[in-house]
């Protein structure tokens, strides 16, 4: 009887007006979320560079904002919003969630943290648990990543708590690409370094605002060159690395440089 009294004190007396108001808020919020989730990516994908990433990153932020506003509008409609009532309601809900929906709520809370801390945004290139791809959608519970093989992978936000997140461009259109070359050790390293640098400088994809660097490592089996540069757009990274590799190989062959070969089992035996 006491429980019934306390519950009736917390919740307002339901009636058609309340149902209509709550329903209207839910419908409006849903429509707004659907509209932003369709319109912003549509607009964003017609832009380039920073403007594209900015518009795409607005999607989860606006959705969270709409949900918070809708929630704040609905709560006073349904309950008597006193401190006592809120504590009682949240305590009950929290207990239920703690036992039954722990993982779901963990992901939802991580989703809110992801919107605030922004370890990834739409358009970022990230790597989580060995999965690399472009963030296509930051949902409430999961982040969707499109891999280079065009697979869509949904990763729960809760991976945030205990897994390193590698973000290759961190909200910027700039993303460093690396093309590797493995050469036989007998060659003029300065000449190779210069030609590789020119390979990058003459790439149609190169962004000139960032440096072009060539890193050289001497290994027991040969010399390892790492050509590092930035494409105009992060989405060009695979074409850029392919271009650097193809033209780099051609330029090196033109210099008469020999490429390093992994020793075969037969040659090792001999």
């Amino acid at each position: 009887m006491l429980e019934d009294n306390s519950m009736s004190q917390i919740f307002r007396q339901p009636d058609w007006t309340m149902a209509l108001e709550v329903g209207a808020v839910v419908v409006i919020a849903t429509l707004l979320i659907a509209a932003t989730q369709r319109a912003l990516p549509w607009i964003g994908n017609r832009l380039h560079g920073r403007r594209r990433l900015f518009v795409l990153a607005l999607v989860p932020v606006l959705r969270l904002l709409i949900i918070v506003v809708a929630f704040a509008t609905i709560v006073p409609l349904v309950i008597n919003p006193s401190v006592q009532n809120m504590v009682a309601l949240l305590g009950t809900v929290g207990l239920a969630i703690g036992f039954a929906l722990k993982d779901l709520v963990s992901s939802l809370i991580a989703g809110v943290v992801a919107v605030g801390e922004m370890p990834y945004r739409n358009g970022d290139w990230i790597k989580i648990d060995g999965i690399y791809g472009e963030v296509r959608y930051v949902g409430m519970r999961t982040v969707q990543v499109v891999t280079p093989t065009d697979d869509v992978v949904s990763i729960p936000h809760s991976r945030l708590w205990n897994t390193p997140i590698h973000n290759s461009n961190d909200g910027s259109p700039r993303l460093q690409c690396v093309a590797d070359f493995y050469l036989h050790p007998e060659h003029d390293a300065a000449e190779v370094k210069q030609i590789l640098s020119d390979v990058a400088l003459s790439s149609a994809f190169l962004h000139f605002g960032q440096p072009v660097t060539v890193i050289v490592h001497e290994k027991p089996w040969g010399t390892w060159y790492r050509l590092k540069a930035y494409p105009v757009d992060a989405r060009q990274q695979f074409r850029f690395v392919t271009d650097l590799t193809v033209r780099g190989k051609a330029a090196l062959l033109g210099l008469g440089v020999t490429f390093a070969m992994a020793p075969t089992a037969e040659s090792v035996t001999v």
Partner: protein, 407 residues
Amino acid sequence: MSEDAPTEAEKAQLELWQFVPLSAYAQPELAARSAAVAAWATFRQLFRSEHKEELVPVRQEDALRALPGMHLEHLVRPIDWRKASAALDAALREPSGDGATGVQFLIGQPHCGHPEIVADWAVRHGAQIIEPPSYEEVLSSKGCWRATWPAVGQAWAIPCLERFFLRSANGLALVRNLLEEIVSGRRGAGLIGCDSWAWAFLQRVSALPLPGALTLQAFDGPRLARLLAQLADVDGQRQLLFRNARSGNTALTVPHDGDTASEEVAQLAAHCRGNVGTARDYWRQRLRAVSDSAVEFDKDKAGTSEVDESDAEVIWVSATQPEPALPVEADEDVALVLHALLIHNGLGDEMLAEVLPLPRHLCMAIVLRLQKLTLLERHEGRWRVSALGYELVRRWLRGRGFLADDF
């Protein structure tokens, strides 16, 4: 009378053709209303394709027809770059260049005639023109190309520095060596013309401290109006009245007097960001004549307008900017082709494939599609971005993050 004292006509030309350091290039400003219109046009460009109704003429201009080619040629004659060359002479006399080496650079935007200006300067001063190497020599990268430089003390000129490199791994060594020789002063005094996109590229691939450069100052409304009037009436004999086809307002009168410009011409100057070559083509493209059916209508209106009472020949100016559209499927490959053409100020079929990570047949497919849309044109055996397409292409490439010129 002193030989150096310029006549009134020469003074007028010096005022018209102004050469300034690159940093002093001042784009004509858009009026607030025009800026809003331009922003709206840019926004619409996001959703626009060549199939949309923008290509349909506006209703008020249905009665107008394109001018016959010969008539158009007389109304908008080619720009006489020799006059610009004479003004460049005066600018070079000022002690603003690289005094240590005596080498001067003239940077020109596409369609702004830097090769013609430098070539004329060379003729004027008896300077030897250094012809560009063949593309095979550019790509040999072993320094086998040797220019025939003039004797010590004699000036030389390079009209097109952009012909001395190719954007490929082996195509940069020659221009680097050349620039090193020039900038170090080993080749004496001379004048080098270079396209603005190629200049932006060379500044980034050459570690040399390249000297300051001159460029043709942006044409603002009043100067553009004077030039357009000159192009329409070289001899100063004609009376012409250019009127906006929609509003009927006067866009330009010939002979043109004073340092003023109509809103029409000021907008054109701002739209072209001061590029006189593209502004001329836009203007030429917009000129219309009254069709026979509309003559009667004009006769009815005669007497109601002060302008119509004059003896001036009336030419109508279309109110619509003849802006071509990018193809719907304008993708990365289209951007790569357009950017390569701008960096080199035009390329032939073979060399285009050489500097792009695309097979030749795909390059040609893109080029021919863009030609159909009037974004590209064939000029002296090379594909280049057309004057009408230049502003759109530049804006598009810049928006996508590609290297653009400094203008």
